[in-house]
Amino acid sequence: MGRTGEDIRKRIARARLERMMVIAVVILVAVVPAIPIWLMYGWIISQSFSGKVILGILPTDLTLDNWRFLWSPIKMGEKEYPNIWPITINTLALALTVSGLVVFVSSLSGYALSRMEFKGRTALMQFIIALHAFPSVILLIALFVILNKLGLYGKGFVTLVGIALIKAGLEIPMATWIIKGFFDNIPWDLEWAALVDGASRWKVWRTVILPLVLPGIAAVSIFSFLSGWSEFLLVFTYVAQEEYYTLPVMIYYMIGEFIHIDWGMLAALGLFYAIPTLIFFSVSQKVLLRIYVGGVKG
């Protein structure tokens, strides 16, 4: 209807231009802000393997000396710090305990909130959101009293367990909320079908529901692992003995060493600190992307 060949060519050209602009915007928004982050990673990697650094940028002298904390005691100036491995195990134990507790509790409570009708359900959900608004700094003193009363303060490893409980408690509300969202997306029919097929309620949860909320569980386990792994304030406040420090606290103390600070080693330490995070993330990310609900399969 009056649409000439030239007109159509013009429209095609315009469509192409629009597509290119979309790509440009995506690059601008998603890639450009990531550049400084990648530069910093690059810097920290090269720094950790070089003996001398020129102008704080250019690495020279390839060496493993900065990584010596892996096989020998850490010494900075006069002070000797605990061996890195027990500290790493402390950190890992804390992170895994937090993550385990959070996943276990929030996957059950998320299911209950999404699926079960009970009195005060809405009020409880609002309360959960409100709960998340409390930063742990406010709770520091109250928690201290509680830890003391429970006999968990100043007891070395047991204190770490106490901290794991607190940290998990702080993470569970939000995790519950996230997982509830995943449960909400599973149609009732699916659950009913499994019941009619002969499954008990528990079996339905195990064989049908759980596999479908796996992405949600992966997300929650990543977040809670990371928050446990990087927890500073609680450990810093409640742990008295050095051998029960976690990595963030130890790194903090080492940065505080003004005179004898060893930048190369700090860089290596920082990198070491990031490794478990990267591994954990890459593993659970696979699950995260395998989303079944809505018909997409991995």
């Binding site: 149609p187 029919d189 009913w192 079908a193 097929d197 002969g198 008990s200």
Partner: protein, 365 residues
């Protein structure tokens, strides 16, 4: 295979009365359809039979055994959901095998049964696929396979064909019916499509607003609808329903009177018109009206009107006739071409007319 008895069951969701005082008996091996408009409580009833919902009142019996409090897993029921509800993370094979695995049947037995049912439903090529890779018709077969594989006592089907296109629906209609007759499983089939119910079921339970309207075989429903709702719901094109009054001026004649209409009803006994007058609804199916010539019939037993519009249906014409203030639909053989505006005289087949009391909505004849 069992006989299912619904003994006065009701289901309330807060203020919503989804099902009210339902009494029904489904014989061993019978194919019963629950028919009614959307929201009338069909699915709710089905879920009560399955044991997903517990009735607010009343009992459910399987072979005289009270199963009201029996959990679904112990009822040996197969169910096809409207959404099919296939497990998205399992292959077709695993979907069908799921009920057998839960029964802890030996692996070899499971494999044999799954392949057998897959062959029967012609989905044996699809066993490795995930539900997301199936078409609507294929999903429907898988759901049916999953319901049938455990050889259930009762088969429940919730609008299983409503998501299929028209052609496939007709195909599956016949196939499900044949399967049911072959396996002799007591079956409840939920649908809002009266053609589906009429063509497939041994008996039909017509429901409206949570209440049972009539429970009978298709022919009885068609010929003797118990009330206005059933009369209007069953049959396509639908029955003509005209509000009016019955008048009995003397002891041996009854007239139906409405605005612009006065029709003598020769077959109706005068005592139906209480006290010589009664508010009623007259029902005539489109195929029970015929055109007559001027001298062919008693003038009092005919209606005069003009053709409003003609809808050719191929084999027949559906003619809309303006009579008084009413438009009646009539089916006539497709010969000659009636024209809009043409004046015609029509006569009902009086042995097939229906009269309903306007207040109680119930059939009078």
């Amino acid at each position: 295979m069992v006989r299912v008895t619904l003994d006065n069951i009701s289901k309330f969701f807060g203020k919503v009365r989804a099902v009210v005082d339902l009494n029904l008996e489904i014989d061993d091996g019978e194919f019963v359809a629950f028919l009614g408009p959307s929201g009338c409580g069909k699915t709710t009833t089905l879920l009560m039979v399955a044991g997903i919902y517990r009735p607010s009142r009343g009992r459910i019996l399987f072979d005289n055994e009270d199963v009201t409090d029996l959990p679904p897993k112990d009822r040996n029921i197969g169910m096809v959901f409207q959404s099919y509800a296939l497990y998205p993370h399992m292959s077709v094979y695993d979907n069908i095998a799921f009920p057998l695995k839960l029964k802890k049947e030996p692996q070899r037995e499971i494999d044999k049964k799954v392949r057998e049912i897959a062959r029967l439903l012609r989905i044996d090529e699809l066993l490795d696929r995930k539900p997301a890779q199936l078409s609507g018709g294929q999903k429907q077969r898988v759901a049916l396979g999953r319901a049938l594989v455990k050889e259930p006592d009762v088969l429940l089907l919730d609008e299983p064909l409503s998501n299929l296109d028209a052609q496939l629906r007709i195909l599956m209609r016949a196939e499900i019916k044949r399967l049911q007759k072959e396996l002799r499983i007591t079956t409840i089939y939920v649908t809002h499509d009266q053609v589906e119910a009429m063509t497939m079921a041994d008996r039909i339970a017509v429901m409206n607003k949570g209440r049972l309207q009539q429970y009978a075989d298709p022919q009885t429903l068609y010929n003797k609808p118990a009330n206005i709702f059933v009369a209007s719901f069953i049959g396509s094109p639908p029955m003509n329903l005209i509000e009016g009054e019955l008048e009995a001026p003397d002891d041996n004649s009854v007239f139906f009177v409405s605005s612009g209409i006065k029709l003598k009803l020769p077959n109706v006994p005068p005592n139906v018109a209480k006290d010589g007058q009664r508010e009623v609804v007259l029902g005539v199916r489109p195929e029970d009206l015929q055109m007559v010539g001027p001298g062919d019939a008693d003038k009092e037993e005919t209606l005069e009107g003009s053709i409003y519009v003609v809808e050719p249906l191929g084999k027949e014409f559906l003619i809309n006739v303006q009579v008084g203030d009413h438009v009646l639909k009539m089916l006539v053989p497709a010969d000659g071409m009636p024209e809009a505006g043409q004046r015609i005289r029509i006569r009902p087949n009086f042995s097939k007319i229906h009269l309903f009391d306007k207040k109680s909505q119930k059939a009078l004849l």
